[in-house]
Amino acid sequence: MPIWVYIVASIIKSALVLFVLLTAVAYTVWLERKVVGHMQNRWGPTRVGPFGLLQPAADGIKFLFKEDLTPPHVYKPLYIAAPLIAVVFALTSIAVIPFGNSITLFGYAFPLQITDVNIGLLIILGVTSVGVYGVALAGWSSNNKYSLLGGLRASAQMVSYEIALGLSLVGVLILSGSFSLREIVNAQAGHFWGFIPRWNIFVQPVAFFCYLMAAYAETNRIPFDLPEAETELVAGYHTEYSAMKFAMFFMAEYANMITVACLATLIFLGGWHGPIFGPPILQALLPVFWFCVKIFAFLFLYIWVRGTLPRFRYDQLMAFGWKFLLPLAIANLIATAIAVVW
């Protein structure tokens, strides 16, 4: 493939993926408000557009035109940088996520992925672990006790649960023998006994449980949303933020949710594998469709949990992470290693 085709294809792919991701972020917010509304016996957004479908656009316009307040007591450079750090690192990790096999256009094969690297999983872990600075610095630079407590809680929580998250993935890595997300997905093709798909969730259910719990804590979602517990901390680390800066934290949170859902789909739910049938055009589009369905199911689970469970106490959260989840992940890892060597 000549270099200019590669560059043009990369730019088009990046723009397309970014557009889809930002739209997905906006409509995940809509979905959450709608689903949680129905769970609580209300309607959710209904006024703006049919079924409230234009609500994300209205929210976006509102955020853009709101007055951008900067309180006088903040440490300005970091106060401005923090939401940027949060949103940049939240959007970066999508670059290594594969959405399907390659498609052939004009005689060239284009993989459905912005960039295919052999350490894709490590890059996602690295980018998400650096993303914690956005939250931590927002809490500190706001110069407000509630923000600081929220920022401290967030960084302690994310560092603690990252270990369980990483260890839960190692079992899968031992089975597939690669850090490349594409190869991990390809290792899950086929079926057990002809009907159960060969997905890692059936081979590594304990690892999936650990990943799920750690993922809720990593993205600061209920039941682990202590960093922004309204009843104790006003709004946590983004108490002092308004307008688009606040929206950036919001976008970062939902983009992180989508990344975590993508990773769960790729590693435990077989990625884009699913029943393929019909004419060639349908066969080309079905893998991407299955991928999106799985992500949607995972996001729906997120929202369902939010509508169901209350919030933990902070010491419960830490005890759960260090005394239960971490030993469980290590035990699963040792059991997997022994089984593989056997």
């Binding site: 052999n118 690295g126 650096v130 914690v132 600075y133 610095l137 960084s155 302690a156 560092v159 850090f179």
Partner: protein, 177 residues
């Protein structure tokens, strides 16, 4: 003709050096900590250029993502203020900066002149995760295990130092469940 690799090497190197200088110049600890993160990230870029992608990823995950988070965490928790200057600090700057520059240049010159360093072509070093794993768990198993025991000792020491001694001299009891 500059190759892309050389340009990237120079860019990452410049970022690393600028971050390190900024680390020393800044008076507020949190700015220094953030400069150190920039240095770590630039070093990860240099590792990537050498073809050591695993080391680069681990550099970001462990140093920038875990250790420096704890640094920043402690600075935030203690609310450490701006560095104080004493009378001696002006003298220290006047003598220390030229002295350190001269010392570094001398060491670098001696090293380049007598150690016979050869430039390494890109990708010549074993950097793939599989190679590093095999090296760690076959050839360098004993040093690896000794390091892990050292870290275990450090962890135990930290736990002992951090636990508040009770009146009887034993470890602190649990406050609540």
């Amino acid at each position: 003709m500059l190759s892309v690799h050389l340009i990237l090497f120079l860019v990452f190197g410049a970022v690393a050096v600028a971050g390190a200088v900024n680390l020393l110049v800044q008076t507020h600890p949190i700015n220094s900590a953030l400069s150190l993160i920039a240095v770590m990230a630039a070093l990860a870029g240099e590792y990537l250029l050498l073809g050591a992608e695993f080391v680069a990823a681990v550099q970001v995950i462990v140093y920038a993502g875990a250790i420096m988070v704890l640094f920043v965490f402690v600075i935030m928790l203690l609310n450490a203020g701006v560095e104080e200057h004493t009378k001696g600090s002006r003298v220290a700057i006047l003598l220390g900066v030229p002295g350190m520059l001269a010392g570094t240049l001398l060491v670098a010159w001696v090293d380049l002149k007598y150690s016979g360093t050869q430039p390494v072509p890109v990708g010549a070093l074993p950097g793939a995760p599989r190679t590093i794993g095999l090296l760690l768990f076959h050839e360098f198993l004993l040093p690896f295990e000794i390091t892990s025991i050292l870290i275990l000792i450090a962890i135990m020491g930290a736990v002992v130092l951090a636990s508040k001694p009770t009146a009887a001299g034993g470890p602190a009891k649990k406050v609540h469940d």
